[in-house]
């Protein structure tokens, strides 16, 4: 109980919110690097996955890339990225992009391929071109699965960004790493709690976005989603 009080006091102390290693700045750092990495990963993964799905090519790679990626520890990806570049932002962004791409590629492909062949044929029969088919039929039907991939990737990115403190980037992991080093349990706990909340907010927020972007009749999709969808992975 005393510990909880101490943590509450920590959050109440304005000094802990200000400055370079203050909570405010760390949250901004954490969110910035996550957003940049996710955006870059989307630029790579969405066209690739959707394009391959539309053409029905590259399935073996697209479906398995997320599963194979799972075997590579995020921690290792981050440290290897650090070795290949300099300390700070670059390795963090590189590692986060590398982790975010696979689940999105997999889900884009799966989402496109789960579109009913009859529906596709009907669209063709109505005289739709490939581009029209993609934009008006396949994409709207694939969107829930695609968004699930984006959400999976985003949560993973926010989670892994915690480890970025180890390669000198900063972010909320800073409080955990510094706290562990100095044996300051209160600081460790405060940092961890903030990261946990951030990850949960990302998950719930993007879940709502996914729902909003899903066509009404598709909203009652059975848990756990489309077969072959990338399973989220904790980081």
């Amino acid at each position: 109980m005393a510990f909880v009080l101490e943590v509450t006091r920590w959050f109440g102390d304005r000094a802990n919110w200000r400055g370079e290693t203050g909570l405010g700045n760390l949250v901004i750092e954490h969110l910035t690097v996550s957003a940049v990495a996710l955006a870059l990963a989307m630029v790579v993964a969405l066209p690739l996955g959707l394009g391959l799905g539309h053409l029905g090519r590259g399935g073996v790679v697209a479906v398995n890339v997320a599963n194979v990626g799972r075997a590579v520890p995020s921690f290792a990806v981050l440290v290897i990225a650090l070795q290949l570049s300099s300390i700070g932002t670059t390795p963090t962004v590189v590692a986060l992009v590398a982790l975010a791409v696979p689940p999105m590629v997999t889900n884009c492909w799966v989402g496109m391929r789960q579109v009913d062949a009859d529906v596709r044929e009907a669209a063709r029969g109505m005289g739709m071109t490939g581009r029209q088919l993609f934009r008006s039929v396949e994409l709207p039907l694939a969107l829930p699965v695609v968004m699930a991939g984006v959400r999976t990737a985003a949560v993973q990115v926010v989670a892994t960004a915690t480890l970025a403190a180890l390669v000198g980037y900063g972010g909320l992991g800073e409080l955990i790493v510094l706290g562990l080093r100095t044996g300051d349990d209160v600081e460790v706990f405060a940092g961890a709690a903030t990261v946990a909340v951030l990850a949960l907010v990302t998950e719930v927020g993007l879940g709502l976005a996914q729902r909003a972007l899903t066509a009404e009749p598709l909203r009652h999709r059975a848990f756990p989603g489309a077969p072959g969808e990338a399973v989220p992975r904790p980081a």
Binding site: R70, T162, L163, L200, P232, P234
Partner: protein, 205 residues
């Protein structure tokens, strides 16, 4: 050189041990939980929400949240690792039980099987392929996550990655990462083999 070999062996053993314990504990918790949810449908949402929440919390944060209570101990690592297996194991067990055809269930009842016997002798065995698919995902994921536990001193091969990071020295980093990936691949294949032996009728996946 032999000193390095011994160290790597010891860390690999620690890695396997933590993973096996976490997945085993995860099964011990998840199986009854999934069976309960299977029986009492209203429990589905709360159970999946709770395990999903645990799953979403970043591992470093979860370990850190436990430190004030269980310290920099193996228990801390184990609680964290186990909690990440729950969502997948519960979800897959539930999907496996749901996948048992109604007529099979009826046939068992017709043959005079009670609820418990039907569960143990018919439903769970038929659910094994889906459960094992979950065990494979949970195992591969856990092997990756163990490396993060290096930060609380119980990271198996992750200890080598951390060492490589701290000393800015590539060799341990590469060795730790490569062995961890190899271990995940081997575990995945081994579990697939085990599944095939357990369920010869299911033909693999």
């Amino acid at each position: 050189m032999s000193g390095h070999g011994a160290l790597i062996g010891e860390l690999a053993r620690q890695h396997v041990e933590l993973t096996a314990l976490a997945v085993a504990l995860g099964l011990v918790i998840s199986l009854p939980l999934a069976v309960a949810v299977h029986r009492l449908r209203p429990l589905t949402s709360p159970v999946l929400a709770a395990t999903g929440t645990l799953y979403t919390i970043p591992s470093l944060a979860l370990f850190a949240l436990l430190v004030p209570w269980t310290g920099l101990s193996r228990t801390t690592a184990l609680i964290g690792l186990t909690s990440y297996t729950l969502l997948i194991l519960v979800r897959n067990t539930l999907a496996g039980l749901d996948g048992v055809p109604a007529e099979v269930r009826d046939a068992a009842t017709g043959m005079g099987y009670g609820r418990l016997r039907r569960l143990l002798a018919v439903e769970l065995p038929l659910a094994v392929p889906v459960i094992m698919a979950g065990v494979r995902i949970a195992t591969v994921t856990t092997i990756g996550l163990v490396t993060v536990a290096a930060l609380i001193g119980h990271g198996g091969l992750g200890q080598l990655i951390l060492d490589g990071l701290n000393r800015d020295f590539r060799t341990p980093l590469v060795v730790g990462s490569a062995l961890s990936v190899a271990m995940a691949a081997i575990a995945d294949v081994a579990l697939l083999g085990l599944q095939r032996r357990l369920t010869p009728w299911a033909g693999g996946e």
